[in-house]
């Protein structure tokens, strides 16, 4: 049963064949690891180590600063080499803790020790998740503990483990569900214990039959957990799309999923919750897919956070014979971030490294024409927006219309409009510019107002 779906959406080539059946391989990095202090939504973490300090695996190196922030732990044992600005995958220079690994991976005491979660109680569970620095690992990297503390836990009807993995090429969640289904179910049970009136839903796109089977079997004995297949359609895994499918409700940008009675977390995050609560292990490793036509042996890897992308590529056999990387993407082809080089470190939310020998965006530039107003972008927008008009308004820098008439800030940046555009208009780029300008103006007004007082 696949059931209802959300409106709009596109069907790009899913590219999963490159790595879908490659079981995850643990990769241990050598040399230095880099930990950006800002790899979550909210305030950057504050370093609690200084250069020269010896650290162990799982040791706190930067603590959360404020409510919406997250702890960062070392994923290797060794010495703190520096705390300095390094190039992150966002392309800018960000403050990072650099650790020289001793190659031994000695862990702090107590890490990996089993704990029975049922004896812990709500507050302890939340505290453990917060201390472990768990953030949304699907891409948004919102601190998970904050998400799990809505105003009224009793109003939550659905706790959703998002295994849709609608992004083309990425297969790490697929493999995670196939190989660690039991742990995901346990993680989901821990989450459900926080919400008395909620049922658990594992939502998986129907192009992952093995994962659906594995999860269904693992959850067979659980009365409160349902595994649901959804039609393969991008952006099925988007938070708002998944809420629409499970709870049947549309949510605004200003509304948290909790307002629609939902808690949504990626299956990797659910797994990290299990590790944090039951195994006393902070978020220091994650599954990453290295894939794309430019990779020699595409596959899935269990990687320590802080490892450089370039190192991970070597683990996947390097660049394919005769190929040359033209585009490197941290994440998937639809929403990933283009990298200028592979020097940046893997972060908590880095789910993939996708490498292309040919850049479709470059090629599309040759076919660029003026907008022919065909309206395909409007048809595919999962939010019900009018990207054609938003694009025109953004081009004119008519930001008032963009924001108030066209609801341009409701855009979830899924890129469906840009994907489908026959005229090859750079819509996403225009929207990013418009949103940036509007938010900058808003902040300026706020600060100006503050100064006047």
């Amino acid at each position: 049963m696949t059931g209802r779906t959300f409106r709009g959406g596109v069907h790009p080539d899913d590219g999963k064949a490159y790595s879908r059946d490659a079981a995850p391989v643990a990769y241990e990095p050598t040399g230095e690891l880099v930990f950006p202090l800002s790899q979550h939504i909210g305030k950057p973490a504050k370093p609690v180590v200084k250069p020269g300090d010896a650290v162990l695996v799982g040791q706190l190196i930067a603590e959360q600063d404020g409510y919406v922030s997250a702890n960062i732990h070392s994923s290797a044992s060794g010495t703190v080499k520096a705390i300095e600005k390094r190039r992150t995958l966002m392309g800018n220079l960000g403050e990072c803790v650099v650790i020289e690994s001793d190659g031994k991976f000695n862990a702090v005491e107590g890490m990996g020790k089993k704990t029975e979660w049922r004896n812990l109680g709500r507050e302890k569970i939340l505290a453990k998740i917060r201390e472990a620095g768990v953030v949304g690992m699907g891409g948004a990297s919102f601190p998970t503990a904050v998400k799990l503390e809505p105003k009224d836990p009793g109003a939550i009807r659905y706790v959703i483990a998002n295994g849709a993995e609608c992004e083309p090429f990425i297969t790490c969640d697929d493999q995670l569900m196939r190989t660690r289904a039991g742990e995901i179910v346990k993680g989901l049970k821990i989450m459900l214990s926080l919400f008395p009136n909620a049922e658990g839903v594992v939502l998986i796109e129907d192009n992952k039959p093995e994962a659906i089977k594995a999860m269904t079997e693992a959850a067979a004995m659980e009365k409160k957990i349902r595994v649901r297949a959804a039609p393969t359609k991008y952006p099925q895994g988007g938070e708002k799309s998944i809420i629409k499918v499970v709870a049947g409700r549309d949510t605004k940008m200003s509304q948290l999923p909790a307002e629609a009675g939902c808690i949504v977390d990626n299956v990797s995050t659910v797994c990290a919750i299990y590790e944090a609560v039951c195994l006393n292990t902070p978020l220091i490793r994650r599954a990453v897919t290295v894939t794309g036509p430019a990779v020699k042996t595409p596959g899935n890897f269990i990687v320590r956070v802080g490892t450089a992308f370039s190192e991970l590529l070597e683990a996947a056999g390097g660049v394919a014979d005769g190929a040359e990387i033209r585009k490197a993407i941290a994440g998937g082809a639809m929403m990933g971030i283009a990298l200028a080089d592979l020097g940046a470190p893997i972060q908590k939310a880095s789910n993939a490294l996708t490498l292309f020998a040919e850049d479709e965006v470059e090629k599309a530039q040759e076919k660029l024409t003026p907008c022919i107003r065909c309206g395909r972008c409007n048809e595919v927008c999962p939010m019900g927006l009018t990207p054609q008009m938003m694009g025109a308004a953004a081009e004119r820098k008519d930001y008032y219309k963009y924001e108030h008439r066209l609801y341009g800030l409701e855009c979830v940046s899924c890129g469906s409009c840009t994907y489908v555009c026959p005229a090859k208009r750079p819509l996403m780029q225009l929207f990013k510019d418009a949103k940036g300008a509007i938010l900058a103006a808003r902040n300026a007004a706020k600060q100006g107002g503050g100064a006047a007082k």
């Binding site: 639809m334 200028a340 019900g384 924001e403 609801y407 780029q429």
Partner: protein, 508 residues
């Protein structure tokens, strides 16, 4: 070395603007091939000339304007083809040439090229040609023989063959095969190149309004209206031109509705057979307004959405309220148009009378003034003539002499039972109850055979005899060698007599 960096998404669908255009061109192929088969080599030349002219004009315009060459997007080819399909196949070759130059250079190029034109270039070109070459553009010929278009027949009340109109064998413009056009339209819908909204709303709204404006309509009549006059061409290929149609779903429905309304209005009340072209162009012009009016709200802002935080102070007027003022303007304009139609109805009637007056004067030499009695003329189209064959009473006129006394009456009647085509004739009645002769206004019979009914020897028999049902061979002799045509004429005269018997009294 650094890799190419750009904003997400990093994959793009294979669809390009060129593909979009070539899909439409492919969809037009059945209609084009049918046109060429039906009208011969000249039709092919018209198509080639139109396309070639469109392409060269685009090239030259780009060059002069210093724009990048845009031929690869295929839009010029499409414009040329569309234009060729909506003009008669018999036009001289300079007509499509000039039409395409106008369509590309003036309608499209001058307004900024692809995506910037405010009306459909092909339709703009067609209307330009209609205004410039009225003769060539309205002369429709099959196998070299000129004939009235089915729609013209429909308007004059004659019987039309809907099946022939549907297949395209009834003639008309180059792309006259409704079936072939539907086939192409369906293809576009199946491959998702057009949405159903515009074609369906155009056809639906047209059907409703044409029936409404005509004061009721039988199904065959409605089918004839739908298969003739380019409404299908417009619904699937002209109105759906993305550049000049609204982009939002509700906008497309409103736009289609508007086209249907205007087409029906022009078709029923207008004098030009060309109702659809003008309707689409007017709707094109209204498109930017429609787009502004019906911007859909995001899903989360529509009904059943989670209620929460009020808007950050944006405009929150509903689409309906924003639309209210312009819709009022629209309603007032429609009311005005209807008013004007009412006022001008009298003028139009006088003009029609004047056209027929010459014929009536010949038939009733004593009459100096003619009028069209209302009751009789209203009853005329529906008058039951089935006893006499396929006959329609077209008009009844009453003549008065210099001092205002009744000088006789004329009944115009059209029969489709002629040997080679319809025959229209006027039958004169004198106040003393005798016939005063007949006069043809349309006679397409074959010279030497059916045409003999036009000779004085035959027509002379209809003067000076009592206005009572006539029988061929009994007082009226058939024109030799033209039995079928003679019978048709006698039946037509009998129908006129029957009508005169019923309404003659009410005519003076």
């Amino acid at each position: 070395m650094s890799y190419h960096v750009s904003s997400s998404p990093h994959v793009r669908s294979p669809l390009s603007t060129g593909h979009v255009m070539y899909d439409v061109i492919l969809a037009l192929m059945p209609a084009t091939l049918f046109g060429v088969r039906m009208f011969g080599v000249h039709a092919l030349l018209v198509v080639l000339m139109s396309v070639a002219s469109a392409v060269t004009t685009e090239y030259v315009f780009d060059y002069i304007a210093g724009r990048e060459n845009t031929l690869y997007d295929g839009s010029a080819v499409l414009t040329g083809l569309l234009l060729a399909l909506c003009i008669p196949a018999s036009v001289p070759l300079y007509v499509p040439y000039i039409g395409s130059v106008f369509a590309i250079a003036v309608v499209k190029g001058l307004f900024g090229g692809l995506g910037k034109n405010f009306m459909n270039p092909a339709l703009g070109g067609r209307v330009f040609l209609l205004l410039s070459f009225g003769g060539a553009m309205t002369r429709y010929a099959i196998d070299g023989a000129t004939s009235a278009t089915p729609l013209a027949n429909l308007e004059s009340g004659a019987a039309v063959n809907v099946v022939q109109m549907f297949t395209g064998h009834a003639g008309g413009v180059l792309g006259c095969s409704t079936f072939a056009l539907l086939l192409g339209g369906l293809y576009l819908w199946v491959i998702d190149a057009i949405s159903w909204r515009i074609p369906v709303s155009v056809l639906l709204s047209f059907s409703v309004f044409v029936a409404l404006f005509s004061g009721g309509m039988s199904l065959p009549e409605l089918c004839a209206h739908l298969t003739g006059g380019g409404i299908v061409m417009a619904a699937f290929f002209m109105a759906t031109d993305p550049v000049t149609s609204p982009v939002t779903a509700p906008g497309q429905l409103l736009y289609g509705w508007l086209i249907g309304l205007l087409s029906a209005f022009f078709r029923v009340f207008g004098s030009s057979a060309d109702s659809v072209s003008y309707a689409v162009i007017l709707a094109n012009v209204a498109t930017p307004l429609i787009d502004e009016l019906v911007i859909p709200r995001p899903f989360a802002y529509r009904n059943n959405a989670v209620e929460a935080v009020p808007d950050a102070g944006g405009e929150s007027k509903s689409a309906l309220r924003r639309a209210a003022a312009p819709l009022c303007v629209l309603a007032v304009s429609v009311a005005l148009l209807c008013g004007v139609a009412g006022v001008t109805a009298g003028v139009i009637e006088k003009r029609r009378l004047a056209e027929h007056l010459a014929a009536y004067r010949v038939l009733l030499p004593n009459a100096v003034d003619f009028s069209l009695p209302e009751a009789a003329n209203q009853a005329a189209p529906g008058f039951d003539t089935s006893a006499y064959g396929n006959i329609v009473i077209q008009e009844a006129a009453a003549g008065a002499d210099a001092v205002g006394a009744a000088a006789g009456q004329v009944v115009a009647v059209r029969t489709s039972d002629g040997r080679d085509g319809p025959i229209t004739l006027s039958v004169a009645f004198l106040p003393d109850g005798t016939l005063n002769g007949i006069l043809y206004s349309e006679l397409n019979e074959t010279p030497g055979i059916g045409m003999k009914v036009g000779e004085d020897a035959f027509t002379g028999q209809f003067a000076g005899i009592p206005a009572q049902t006539l029988t061929l061979g009994d007082g009226i002799d058939a024109a030799s060698g033209a039995t079928i045509s003679s019978a048709a004429v006698v039946n037509a005269v009998n129908a006129a007599i029957a009508f005169h018997d019923a309404y003659g009294g009410a005519m003076n």
